[in-house]
């Protein structure tokens, strides 16, 4: 008779490692399901049943005990085997309980085989044996399915706990990712190549006495102030973020006036919302680096925001540049952004990348309309 599982049947892959979960050969799996605990409970019950039935039986106690132990072992094996090879259409728990119910009379019959010399008529001709068979089968049928259900209940419990642990692990992994991405953000935000090229341009403007020099320097200062690593980069508004993006784009436009055009269209009510700092900037920098800069003819960058039919808000950075190569690695900026978005706006926030026609990329941040403080700030632990 089956007893509680030792968790051997439950193999949940909780780690995020890429290695394939291991599938053990079937026989090993069945043996694995025959835990000490199960075997002990089965043996104990066999002794108990034998003791209870002993007064009714005329045969010696040890023969009766031999039969009940034999039956218990067979039923335990049936239970384990059904757990491993259940037909696809039948749920595993039902297969296991049915296996025990069907195996009970067969196991009892087999237990009688030695005393009837394998001849069924010997069994049927003796009223005592028929009664014994009926007694044992009835007792087994009463106890075994209940035990099987008990074992399954415990197993489900263990599975639920494993799932919970899995979720907790996944959650902590996501939290770690969010932390990592914050750290990455703190490091090297300003690319030396960008900075020195921009300064070279400013130098050119200053030397030629261009009136453009002062506003360009203002943009550079605004950009540097925002992009400088800060420890307490909390919430900002979308409006602030757009102002930063404008500074950046003005600098880039000074550098490549013939190759870059841009426009910003963000409604005031959306601009006032709390927003994840350095998020739109990441998309715009990506658009310049992978879309405009590699293209001889350059292109446009359009930044817009709108409210969707379902109430969520969509912030769009669309470029008409070179577009994304399908085997190009998503720069750390982009991969980080998705986990940062979830950390800030909750699990429903996401980053979508759409290909633009005839070429270019549209990167879109979508987040639920309620304030970030209402949304779960932790990464999604238990997505449905």
């Amino acid at each position: 008779m089956p007893a509680a599982p030792g968790g051997a049947i439950v193999r949940r892959m909780t780690s995020t490692s890429a290695s394939a979960p291991v599938l053990r050969p079937a026989l090993q799996e069945i043996v694995g399901a025959l835990t000490w605990r199960r075997t002990t409970v089965a043996a104990g019950l066999a002794v108990l049943v034998a003791a209870l039935l002993n007064p009714v039986f005329t045969i010696p106690f040890w023969v009766l005990l031999g039969r009940t132990v034999f039956i218990a072992v067979l039923l335990l094996i049936a239970f384990a085997a059904a757990g491993t090879w259940h037909p696809r259409r039948i749920p595993r728990w039902l297969a296991q309980v049915l296996a025990v119910v069907i195996a009970a009379p067969i196991a009892t019959l087999l237990a009688y085989m030695p005393s009837i010399d394998g001849n069924l008529t010997n069994l049927l001709s003796s009223e005592g044996r028929v009664m014994g068979f009926v007694y044992i089968t009835t007792t087994v049928l009463m106890i075994a399915p209940l035990l099987a259900l008990g074992a399954l209940y415990r197993e489900r419990d263990a599975q639920a706990r494993a799932a919970l642990l899995g979720f907790a692990l996944e959650r902590s992994t996501l939290e770690k990712e969010a932390l990592d991405s914050r750290l990455k953000l703190l490091q090297a935000q300003i690319e030396p190549h960008f900075l020195f090229n921009t300064l070279a341009n400013v130098q050119a403007l200053v030397e030629s006495g261009s009136p453009q020099a002062a506003p360009v320097l203002k943009s550079l200062i605004a950009y540097l102030r925002a992009a400088m690593p800060r420890l307490h980069a909390g919430a900002s508004t979308l409006g602030n973020e757009i102002a930063l993006v404008r500074s950046y784009l003005e600098l880039m436009q000074m550098r490549m006036p013939d190759r870059l055009a841009f426009a910003v269209d963000v409604p005031a009510d959306i601009a006032a919302r709390e927003f994840l700092p350095m998020s739109v900037l990441t998309l715009v920098e990506n658009a310049v680096r992978h879309g405009i800069d590699p293209s001889e003819n350059g292109g446009r960058i359009d930044i817009s925001a709108r409210r969707e039919a379902d109430g969520s808000i969509r912030v769009i950075v669309a470029d008409t540049g070179a577009g994304m190569n399908p085997s190009a690695l998503p720069g750390t900026g982009l991969t980080n952004l998705e986990s940062r978005l979830r950390g800030f706006f909750g699990a429903a926030a996401r980053l979508e990348l759409h290909e633009a026609r005839p070429h270019g990329l549209s990167a879109e941040i979508v987040f639920p309309a309620q304030a970030p403080s209402d949304a779960p700030t932790a990464p999604p632990g238990a997505r449905p």
């Binding site: 892959m13 394939a20 979960p21 599938l23 696809r88 020195f196 490549m256 590699p294 979508e352």
Partner: protein
């Protein structure tokens, strides 16, 4: 002596102007015969004007300054102009190739001008490994651009509603062939693509994606559990999803103990 002529190539117009202005002051006789905005223009204009000197920005769209230099080769004196490309500067020093770092001091440019004048007066052969240095640099620049050298797909291009989405492969749960198409199922939804399973299995990183059935590829990172069924088959359950995927006998080895 033939006139000193030069080509300036830089994608940033202000920087072309600044270089031209400083050269005019340091070397009034030098004639700037052409200005190019990218490597392709630099090569075309070089062929048209055949100047004796080429000032080439390293980072330019399309063909870059190194590509242009490889085309010009030993037909002109080359000076690279670069902003903080350390790897390039190292290569130039190694190959004894002249360079100027942006933003440059006029004194630094003056040194280059002196060297150029003496070289034009008495041409000296370039260092023997000039081509090798440039070839290596060109390869490095391509790798940095990220366009090449990546073996596996990072994005799947799929039509969703009216738009073409780029789906990061790490978000994909599984791919399943569906008559003529392949169904892509990822965190954000489902889409049909035309690339067949047998082609995708070759393009995706085998450390993350495994074919488990004639018609199914699964992302191993998204597998939650494997249940063994009858007759050497199994089923795969995924994290946070309801779908159950079949594992056929011939692909069962994917999950065998390694």
């Amino acid at each position: 002596m033939t006139a000193a002529t030069a080509l300036i190539a830089d994608d940033e117009p202000l920087l072309r102007e600044r270089l031209r202005a400083h050269l005019a002051r340091l070397w009034p006789e030098l004639e700037i015969v052409a200005e190019a905005r990218n490597g392709r223009e630099a090569i075309e204009l070089f062929e048209t004007h055949l100047p004796r000197i080429a000032f080439l920005d390293v980072h330019m769209p399309g063909l870059n300054g190194i590509d242009a230099a490889r085309a010009i080769a030993r037909r002109a004196e080359l000076v690279f102009v670069t902003a903080h490309e350390n790897y390039a500067v190292q290569a130039f020093e190694h190959g004894a190739i002249d360079y100027v770092i942006k933003p440059f001091e006029e004194a630094r440019l003056a040194d280059s001008v002196t060297r150029l004048k003496s070289r034009l007066a008495a041409p000296q052969p370039l260092s023997a490994d000039f081509e090798t240095v440039l070839d290596r640099l060109a390869g490095e620049l391509k790798a940095r651009a990220g366009a090449e050298g990546r073996k596996y797909l990072q994005w799947i291009r799929a039509s969703v509603a009216a738009s073409v989405r780029l789906i990061p492969v790490e978000q994909i749960a599984f791919l399943r062939s569906d008559e003529k198409y392949t169904l892509v199922v990822w965190e954000g939804g489902e889409a049909l693509i035309r690339t067949p399973i047998r082609e995708l299995v070759e393009q995706l990183d085998p450390d993350t994606f495994a074919q488990i059935h004639r018609s199914v590829i699964v992302n191993l990172r998204q597998v939650a559990q494997i249940d063994r069924g009858f007759n050497d088959t199994a089923e795969v359950r995924l994290k946070n999803r309801r779908e159950v995927l079949p594992v056929s006998r011939s692909f069962l080895h994917v999950f065998r103990q390694m």
